[in-house]
């Protein structure tokens, strides 16, 4: 239990001050640290050609987001396909094929870490740093920016007071400055935190070097293996950001199960904490940023309840249920961690859209796998940085709409009515997920030549469904036995990755901007009270019911049947 309690206690204890700090950063008002950071930021704004106080409409904001993604996409794609000719390649990684490079680029551009390659052998140091780490740092900041802009919209925009005063309702709503919203938290929040984690992880044994690794001869000369190459590199900075930035893409193929990437139980605690630290901070940020503490309590309370329940179930399934006495318990796990920290990690990495692993998910108990899939389907238990909050806003609007229908009141959020145009956009988002996940799972399973399963039976269904769920949730973990380095998997997953990120980030912003332009009615006793435990429970019920309605059949055919088969052994 010690890891479970420590991680939650530390995340809440540290997330609180970090969230307040992050709110100050995102608000953009003068603050402590300006003396250090403003001189760094000014030339960057000059290069970009903006002034941080200048606002943008939601269309400009979303356009800036999409265009800056496109530019990075092209650069990184080209870099991966030509890395053999570029510098910093001491281990001689070859150029990537077009489809593998496409999938890898889209995967990291969407803050996922679906990896159909093995980093230590197939990426150069340059691709790791300027390709992968670049995206690992900037994409969560983009997600955060979109979420903060959405929050601004929900409360009438950055210019809400001015708009009410002059009554110019048809003005575009000022949702903030995208460029500043990305740069400020990256410089003032994310990178300092990452440098701290990088050093702490190196102290435990994570390599940090630009030199190529040595090749050694095994101590026991009687073994077949004649030499062993020890892959090193600037691993530690990458592990820090992949854990803190809800990305999850590791240096080595098997991620944080590899002792070089996660050497000790203490490094495992640091990395587990890092899985949820920033997402928890973002939830805490809502209060000071919006000035609505009760609303922040709703967000935090709902997420914490679901998080503890799901992590607790995973730990029980793996370490305390009947399947924990299985002789195969340690298959895919590392001796220095054991069962409980592996299950805790599996739950938190799927809650937060992180996707790093410290044990092979394929070999987990089936019910632990069920928790992982469920977390990814919901994708708003903390969720990815920014993305989790966006998805939460979607559930919130749905919850308000359904509660309004049930109580016979006009559904409204913070005094603004939710009407047909907003609900239609919500419906697009809600329907996209089952259409893509179930549709592609069905297509892939119907063509056994495409799947490439490593396992027979019910687990094979879980493997395929897990892969698409993970792609759509921008998670990146996998039932990795899947032979997924094929054109079919690379291209279909690249499409799913993009469809899982861009609509989910942009549509809530559009809805928030639409709401912001509506006349705000004073909140009265007749309005639906959303900042209450009752509504929090309603919201959880909406989330769980919606997920089960859509995915119950495939969950029964996959992990549940797998569990029954294991229990019947």
């Amino acid at each position: 239990m010690s890891e479970f309690l420590l991680v939650f206690a530390l995340a809440v204890g540290l997330g609180w001050p970090l969230g307040r700090y992050l709110a100050a950063v995102m608000r953009g008002a003068p603050m402590r640290g300006d003396g250090l950071f403003l001189p760094l930021e000014r030339p960057l704004y000059a290069l970009i050609g903006t002034k941080p106080e200048r606002g943008m409409s939601w269309r400009g904001y979303a356009g800036a987001f999409l265009l800056s993604n496109l530019v990075l996409a092209i650069v990184v794609w080209l870099m991966l396909m030509s890395q053999a000719w570029l510098p910093l390649n001491p281990n001689g990684a070859p150029n990537m094929s077009w489809d593998l490079a496409l999938h890898t680029m889209v995967s990291f551009l969407t803050n996922t870490n679906q990896q159909h390659y093995s980093g230590q052998a197939q990426l150069s140091y340059l691709s790791h740093m300027m390709g992968i780490v670049t995206l690992q740092v900037i994409t969560p900041m983009m997600g955060l920016a979109l979420a903060v802009a959405t929050l601004r919209g929900l409360f009438g925009g950055r210019d809400a007071q001015a708009r009410q005063a002059d009554g110019q309702d048809r003005m575009p709503v000022d949702v903030g400055n995208y460029w500043a919203d990305v740069i400020r938290p990256a410089l003032r929040f994310m990178l300092p935190l990452c440098l701290l984690w990088s050093v702490l992880l190196t102290s435990q044994g994570v390599p940090a070097t630009l030199a190529g690794g040595p090749t050694v001869a095994p101590v026991d000369a009687t073994v077949e293996m004649k030499e062993q190459k020890i892959p090193l590199g600037p691993v530690s900075p990458m592990v820090a950001i992949k854990q803190l930035g809800t990305n999850g893409g590791g240096w080595y193929g098997p991620n944080s199960a590899v002792p070089l990437e996660n050497p000790t139980p203490l490094s495992n605690l640091l990395e587990t904490l890092a899985l949820i630290l920033v997402p928890v901070s973002v939830a805490f940020m809502v209060g000071p940023l919006t000035g609505r503490r009760r609303f922040a309590a709703l967000v935090f309370g709902t997420m914490l309840t679901m998080s503890v329940a799901s992590a607790g179930f995973a730990v029980w399934s793996e370490a305390n249920s009947s399947t924990s006495r299985d002789i195969a318990l340690m298959e895919g796990k590392e001796v220095r961690f054991g069962a409980e920290p592996s299950a805790l990690w599996a739950a938190l990495t799927t809650q937060t859209s992180n996707g790093s692993v410290n044990a092979m998910h394929d070999s987990l108990a089936p019910l632990t796998g069920l928790v992982a899939i469920g977390d990814m389907l919901i994708n708003a238990i903390w969720g990815g940085i920014g993305c989790g909050l966006q998805q939460f806003v979607v559930y919130l609007l749905l919850g308000v709409f359904l509660a309004g229908l049930m109580t016979g009141r006009t559904p409204e959020l913070f005094g603004r009515k939710i009407e047909a145009p907003e609900v239609k956009l919500l419906a697009v988002l809600v329907l996209l997920q089952p259409l893509i996940l179930l549709g592609l799972t069905a297509i892939t399973l119907s063509a056994p030549g495409l799947t490439g399963n490593s396992n027979p039976g019910f687990h094979a269904i879980s493997q395929v469904f897990y892969e698409y769920t993970s792609a759509f949730a921008n998670n990146g973990s996998g039932f990795e036995g899947l032979g997924d380095a094929t054109v079919w998997w690379n291209v279909s997953c690249a499409v799913v990755l993009a469809l899982g990120r861009y609509p989910a980030l942009v549509i809530p912003l559009a809805i928030a901007a639409m709401l912001a332009r509506k006349r705000q009615a004073p909140e009265s006793t007749g309005s639906l009270q959303i900042e209450t435990p009752t509504f929090a429970l309603t919201l959880i019920a909406v989330i769980v019911t919606l997920t089960l309605l859509q995915f119950m059949p495939v969950l029964v055919l996959g992990p549940v049947a797998d569990h029954l088969a294991l229990a019947a052994r």
Partner: protein, 215 residues
């Protein structure tokens, strides 16, 4: 900037000096990409490497075990051992090759996994001269990364007799060595107790060089 997208609305706002402008998106996107590639992709990792090298040079360079200027291995990478005079590490799905590391990715319900574990258990019991029921699970399952450097103290204990016999030394001496090489739970509460296989085998070689029999 030649390409300008979006609309520009300037107005005289009340109580605010900001104006809304959606201009200059392409220049912004290119500028941000440069900031990200150079600042986040190059300067950040290089700073991390510099700090790591300055503060913790041993671990920053891979926790290598060197003797007489020769690198024997890394205490974070398992090596294969076949000789009976050595402790065996956990089986590896990747043949202990760090460039190809992987787990088996076999599900608990996969019959092939069950067959492999049964065979590994029988083989370990025969090799170590113990009853199959006492062979601990970690010694016969494949780790997540395929280079798990540790085994549990129980997995070391089941091998103690065999190592002692092969080296012609007392079981007490081997058990004392296991005790010395058992790392407790970190800070008393994190992770699991464990024995580093490469380190304990190197210690065996150092201590009992004289009794070493060449194959």
């Amino acid at each position: 900037m030649s390409i300008q997208k979006g609309n520009t609305i300037t107005r005289t706002p009340v109580g605010s000096s900001s104006a809304i402008s959606d201009k200059g998106l392409l220049r912004g996107a290119i500028g941000l990409a440069i900031v990200a590639l150079v600042g986040f992709g190059l300067l950040y990792p290089l700073t991390g490497v510099g700090l790591g090298q300055a503060l913790f040079p041993d671990t920053a360079n891979g926790s290598l075990i060197e003797r007489d200027g020769k690198v024997l291995g890394s205490s974070l990478v398992a090596q294969p051992f076949a000789d009976a005079r050595y402790f065996q590490p956990r089986p590896s799905a990747a043949g202990y090759d760090p460039m190809a590391m992987a787990g088996s990715n076999q599900a608990r319900t996969n019959p092939e996994l069950r067959k492999r574990i049964d065979e590994a258990r029988a083989a370990a019991a025969q090799r170590d001269g113990v009853d199959p029921s006492v062979v601990p699970g970690d010694l016969i399952t494949q780790s997540g990364g395929g280079i798990d450097p540790h085994i549990s103290p129980q997995a070391a204990a089941t091998q103690a007799d065999r190592v002692a016999r092969a080296r012609g030394i007392g079981r007490d001496a081997v058990e004392a060595l296991i005790a010395r090489h058992t790392e407790a739970r970190q800070l008393g509460l994190l992770g699991q107790p464990r024995v580093n296989v490469l380190e304990i085998n190197l210690a065996l070689d150092t201590l009992y060089q004289s009794t070493r029999m060449e194959p």
